[in-house]
Amino acid sequence: MDLALAPETLARWQFGITTVYHFLFVPLTISLAALTAGLQTAWVRTEKEKYLRATKFWGKLFLINIAMGVVTGIVQEFQFGMNWSDYSRFVGDIFGAPLAFEALIAFFFESTFIGLWIFGWDKLPKKIHLACIWMVSMGTVLSAYFILAANSWMQHPVGYRINEERGRAELTDFWLVLTQNTALTQFFHTITAAFLVGGAFMAGISAFHLARKKHVPVMRSSLRLGLVVMIIAGMGTAISGDLLGKVMYKQQPMKMAAAEALWDGEAPAPFSVFAYGDVDKGHNKVAIEIPGLLSFLANDDFTSFVPGINDVNKAEQEKYGPGDYRPNIPVAYWGFRWMIGFGMASLGIGVLGMWLTRRKFLLPPGLRTGEDEVPHLVLFKKPLSPKFANLYWIVALWTMGFPLIANSWGWIFTEMGRQPWVVYGVLRTRDAVSPNVSQAEVLTSMIGFTLLYAVLAVIEVRLMVKYVKAGPPELTEADLNPPTRIGGDDKNPDRPMAFSY
């Protein structure tokens, strides 16, 4: 069969499309849940109205986003059975368990408490209502942990044995699957990256309003919160990325050699910042290299030997039999660079933003119109032209997309860099597809999901824009005086609900 339309290729495309799309919503869900919970906590503790307005504003954007995250997540679970049935048969004993744990422990939490949070404003006392959003937040983090443990097992299988009689892998140590270093570092990296997304999202949208001098008290607090989160999360992402890189060098040398397009091993090995020419053919047209850095990233030592693609390919051929064990080199090489580049750029802009919005840059007290004021971003003593002064706000707005791009490429790199394996060293991708599913069926579902996702993307983005532009809502009497009894303590049975679909 034509390779371009082989069920394996189509199934991989479908998995790639549905997963990357799903993962546009996941990091924002994880981080916005926690940030909204943080803002609501600030309201409950200080009773400052700006925090309640911020909670309602970011909470609404969070809900628009999580709706898409939830519905696109359903596809992920069933796709294994639909397109990858031989994978499911082979690893279900191991891979199924964290998935079931995710559903039982995390999804139930998330989905039940989100219902309570959305509809509970006039049904629950303040503190219990606050606890609900924290429960949602906990659910999102737990969910990420279980799914990353499952993915880490595919990257670095541990705690299993092969049962020849049944022709499958069987679990021998579940604790090891949950706590192996791959799982923990991937979790650390993914969570920090998720908060980078949320921080940039918050900073960008706040910048949009502040540039227009609208909703200043709410947006100034949000901007600072977003920037702090961006900086902490950005540094966390860099540290966790370094840890994860070292783990990968040991466990998947091919992936990291591909990430560097390092064809033959070197000692010391340089880090290639940018390569001009065809990285698929060789490593010879490199424009910028940092000597010894790759050795350091791999082994914490500037002079050590790092094996290249050809070395690893030869070693794997000896171990697993004849074949080509190289992933798609340009995708791995560029994916790795886009990930780091956009991630680090977000961190840099966060630091710059933090510095520019210091108290020092606020208007002098005499010129202020309110308690909070928009910083006017003066780098020099003389006032800047308005166009130049607005540049930072525009940059902040654009930065919203950076961590998302970094995240997507990070996943593409992680998953494509593992090819031709679906479970590294254990099961090849081509042996994992459903043998009884026809090309037409996979094509139908791939086109179906892609079209549906495209339509939903337009709807979602337009809805987001509408609610972003609308700004934080005005507060009502009901918002400020929540009930003190569970179920609501309203004596008037005909009073309208605080929230309804």
Partner: protein, 333 residues
Amino acid sequence: MQLHDVWFVLIAVLWTGYFFLEGFDFGVGVLTKLLARDRTEKRVLINTIGPVWDGNEVWLLTAGGATFAAFPDWYATLFSGFYLPLLLILICLIIRGVAFEYRHKRPEDRWQTNWEHAIFWTSLIPAFLWGVAFANIVRGVKIDENKEYVGSLLDLLNVYSILGGLVTLTLFTFHGAVFTSLKTVGDIRDRSRKLATRLGAATAVLALVFLLWTQVSQGDGKSLIAMIVAVLALVGALGFNLAGREGWSFALSGVTIAAAVAMLFLTLFPNVMPSSLNEAWNLTVTNSSSSAYTLKIMTWCAAVATPLVLLYQGWTYWVFRKRIGTQHIVDVH
């Protein structure tokens, strides 16, 4: 009782939970066209399930995840075999979830009408298809010696499975109508009760034929008991509905669903998916299950998590126990 038998029961319980809970919210989705006279009434219906439909849907994800972990071969054969119907269900569930969340987020009439159509169809289609799927599982499908489904889409559409689909569709809609009469006040509550009577009568006829067919073709003593319970509960639900005892009626329509699911699983056991080609190729609880170690871990997880889930989901229903009517609907989008 061995662990794989325990997990067979637990998966039956998870599907029961799913059909009980999402059953009524599918039903409410269908009723938005059958019962509501205007947009405000539609919104009343949608808001009766607003706080809980998402939690209800997780029962499906848990049933799916548990099948994957406890019976990987069942999971693989079922979802690769029933590929296109499952695809249709997934697409419906995607649109449905977004429809609930987005319908009220813009004031335009066309926007809201489109999402309301979506809620109706994406509730109706899965409610029907789940019945088709389960009828096929019980009846047996073309499974070869490698545990692969080798039939076609048309093999899944036969008189028995379509009847099964009509049973779940009417049963869920009836269950939903009983739920809305329990959760609403005013005119809509009265009409909902009247509609429930008619839906219940239709359900009774279809369910009786389907369950008898199942019992005669592959039932035993235990499944007969489950069938009798299902039928009696349905009659009881109808009776309590006529008497205006909505709580009892809802409890009994739930028992009907539970007993019907129990009956299907009882006729399956010890198979999980029989082969219509050769009995030796049946997927059974022993040849499709995970290792004892995995099942043990899963059992611990379920033993700790399930009571908690029931507790906090139950609490949600308690928090939102008040009836709602058109007067409670906020006039903003």
